[in-house]
């Protein structure tokens, strides 16, 4: 399958992330979600990165509570016993959710489509980024599939000890993330040592000229279209 260049995907993901922060209205946020959210979630599910999607949706609980505490203003929309949910809370919640969903989608598109070694070469050779940044980012991507595997094992052992499979409360999240971080830090340290012993410090970036393929042009066009729509929506 023909894939876009890693540098194209990197620029695409980075730009969508910036756009997600620039966008102010719901319409603008919807524009950048139309492609990125469904495509990213589809690829994420297909490539076994479900845990990150699940964690995102669990995180929405916290987001909603946050919106309820800090932006619960305007006309009441829903009344649940003593809790009155107002327009401001719903609007704030929707905006932050869409913002994060766009970023998640673009990130999942990026990480499911790049090859780590090609990505390092691309960041170093095409985008002229320092090799340390390129390597750290690439290893982070490589670790995602390992984290996914670890998280599946952790879920199983949590069930048998009477804990929730997926974390919901802050305490759950802490107990879930602790082993993941412990294992992740240990692995990252050793992978770093192994890379140094294989001459990483001697590595010299090989500069390459960017040659865009059709698929790169399509990705850049899609990005341009989203930017254009976003700015049209800014107009009065």
């Amino acid at each position: 399958m023909i894939k876009p260049r890693p540098s194209t995907l990197f620029i695409y993901g980075l730009t969508i992330t910036i756009l997600a922060f620039i966008a102010r209205s719901l319409e603008q946020l919807l524009v950048i979600n139309v492609v990125n959210a469904p495509l990213g979630l589809f690829l994420g599910f297909k490539r076994r990165l479900r845990i990150f999607i699940i964690l995102f949706f669990i995180g929405l609980i916290g987001l909603f509570i946050n919106a309820l505490v800090f932006t619960n203003t305007g006309n009441p929309v829903i009344t649940l016993s003593f809790i009155i949910i107002r327009e401001g809370a719903l609007l704030g919640f929707a905006k932050v959710t869409l913002r994060l969903l766009a970023i998640l989608g673009a990130t999942l598109i990026f990480i499911t489509q790049v090859n780590v070694r090609e990505f390092i070469k691309s960041l170093e050779g095409e985008l002229r980024l320092p090799k340390d940044i390129a390597f750290a980012t690439a290893i982070g991507l490589r670790m995602l599939s390992i984290v996914e595997r670890d998280s599946r094992e952790i879920q199983l052992t949590r069930i048998q000890r009477g804990f929730r499979k997926y974390p919901i409360t802050p305490g759950d999240i802490g107990s879930y993330l602790r082993p993941l971080l412990s294992l992740g830090i240990e692995r990252a340290t050793w992978i770093g040592i192994a890379a140094e012993l294989r001459g990483y410090a001697l590595r010299k970036p090989r500069r390459v000229k960017i040659k865009l393929s059709k698929i790169d042009v399509i990705v850049y066009s899609l990005l341009a279209l989203q930017i254009l729509l976003l700015f049209i929506l800014f107009l009065p």
């Binding site: 090859n115 199983l156 048998q160 000890r161 082993p179 050793w190 992978i191 192994a194 990483y200 001697l202």
Partner: protein, 497 residues
């Protein structure tokens, strides 16, 4: 006579000045020699690798006082350290902590790219190296889908592709099935025959004693023996006894006449009949027509190659997955139907990776989570003195051996009828293993059923009351000697050919 090209005289080395982990290490090596470095878990073997490759002082802010020369390069200086990757290839213990790239071809090419090889050379050398190590058909597969043995071979390929003069292997047989062990020994033998200088760090000395030109023994960070091939040959029995005394696995395991386990209490605790299982989205059955019946007090040891379905079977007995077909009952109930903590009271699964089991930030909370009474906990702490000292520590700060012990203790505190262990002896030296064997015997005497999935022949010999061989998802009960032969034959049979 070959000139000495490796000189190591380490007065002291450690991660923090004034707190040495190793000291008094003094040896030399000529080109083409194989040095076997042995010692119990935590004796400082890995720190020695970090020290003599210069990683400790140049990367980890540690220190090494002394003199090291590897083919006239001083790895303790920054200039020397920068030359190390060209002359030394290091294969670390755990492939998951070494493999940085998504496919084998990328992993091997990464080394050559770092060292500045041309694109054409990278392509040619990478494929040759993968071909040599039998991985060319998996060159573009995901590294995540490789077996344990394949991952180890990939690490070897990525470390030797540039033909370094010195090869260092840290616990090369760890976590490998007998076929993986056999392959690794064969490759190391081949590298030696080709004239590479080799250091093998192992606590299973028996695999490499015959290959070694020199032997170095470390205990508590100190060199206690350095001897040559002639001495090893002439005083083999004395040296083997000495190594056993240091907790190093150096003798062929023997079946014990009285294992004092497997005192059946009569009740059937685990009943599996015609069980079939496949993972969702998978076409192939991982378990096929599995039958198993165990009583309270029995210790079943399941052996088999990597990927034969041992772990999946344990997870099904633990109730994590529902079988597609067949019967499974643990203490009379389908385990996947048992909810919440009741499941841990019936059956408890101890994973190979201890960290997966921990949920709290202190050892005390981990122990209390089982609902154990304070007086019971106190009596337990009185029997395991080190546990008392680390009660307030995070489980993740304990040593690997301590973490393993903590998982056994947690399992016992839940007081389950059935305890399942996945590779419980991985990384345990003989001393720690003896402790584990005692532990299993005790819980067996209490009437609990223990099921152990392992490649470790020591466990078969010391604790098994029933032995099973798993192959391609099927299971067969076999007599103990056959299980031992199953594990030993691939290693020794191929070496004697």
């Amino acid at each position: 006579m070959n000139p000495i090209m490796i000189i190591v005289k380490i007065k002291e080395a450690g991660f923090r000045e004034g707190k040495p982990v190793i000291s008094g290490i003094d040896f030399t090596l000529a080109p083409g020699e194989l040095l076997l470095i042995v010692g119990a878990s935590g004796s400082g073997k890995t720190t020695l690798i970090l020290s003599l490759t210069g990683v400790l002082s140049n990367l980890l802010n540690g220190y090494t006082n002394g003199e090291i020369r590897l083919f006239n390069v001083d790895p303790l200086t920054p200039e020397g350290f920068s030359k190390i990757p060209r002359i030394v290839g290091v294969v670390l213990q755990d492939p998951d902590k070494q493999i940085a790239m998504p496919t084998p071809v990328d992993e091997v090419a990464f080394t050559l790219e770092n060292l500045g090889y041309s694109d054409d050379d990278i392509r040619e050398l990478t494929l040759n190296s993968l071909k040599h190590l039998g991985l060319v058909h998996k060159a573009y597969s995901s590294t995540e889908n490789l077996s344990g043995g394949e991952k180890k071979r990939l690490c070897i390929a990525a470390s030797i592709v540039h033909t370094p003069k010195l090869l260092i292997f840290d616990e090369p047989t760890a976590n490998l099935d007998p076929w993986g062990v056999s392959e690794t020994i064969s490759y190391i033998r081949e590298f030696k025959e080709k004239g590479h200088t080799i250091m093998v760090i192992e606590h299973k000395a028996r695999y490499f004693l015959d290959l070694a030109d020199k032997l170095l023994v470390i205990e508590n960070g100190k060199q206690v023996l350095f001897t040559g091939k002639e001495q090893i040959r002439r005083n083999r029995d004395r040296i083997v006894n000495l190594l056993e005394g240091y907790g190093v696995d150096s003798t062929t395991p023997k079946l014990r006449e009285t294992r004092n386990t497997g005192i059946s209490k009569g009740r059937v605790t685990v009943h599996v009949e015609d069980l079939w299982f496949k993972y969702p989205l998978s076409e192939e059955f991982v378990l096929k027509n599995v039958n198993l019946k165990l009583n309270g007090g029995e210790v079943a040891v399941i052996v088999g190659p990597n990927g034969s379905g041992k772990t999946t079977l344990l997870k099904i007995i633990a109730g994590f997955y529902k079988p597609n077909k067949g019967l499974i009952k643990v203490t009379g109930t389908e385990p996947y139907r048992i909810k919440g903590r009741d499941r841990a009271k019936a059956v408890f699964y101890v994973p190979q990776e201890p960290d997966y089991l921990f949920v709290y930030d202190s050892v005390y909370k981990e122990l209390k989570a089982s609902g154990v009474r304070e007086d019971e906990l106190k009596s337990l702490l009185d029997s395991i003195s080190w546990l008392k000292r680390v009660l307030d520590e995070s489980p993740y700060k304990l040593s690997h051996g301590q973490r393993r012990w903590l998982t056994y203790t947690i399992a016992k505190l839940y007081d389950p009828k059935v305890i399942l262990f996945d590779e419980p002896s991985a990384g345990l030296d003989n001393k720690l293993l003896k402790g584990y064997v005692e532990w299993v015997r005790n819980v067996s005497k209490e009437g609990k059923t223990v099921i152990i999935a392992t490649h470790d022949v020591r466990l078969v010999c010391d604790v098994a009351s029933k032995t099973f061989i798993m192959k391609n998802g099927t299971i067969e009960e076999v007599p103990l000697p056959k299980a031992v032969e199953f594990l030993e034959e691939p290693v020794w049979g191929s070496q004697h050919q």
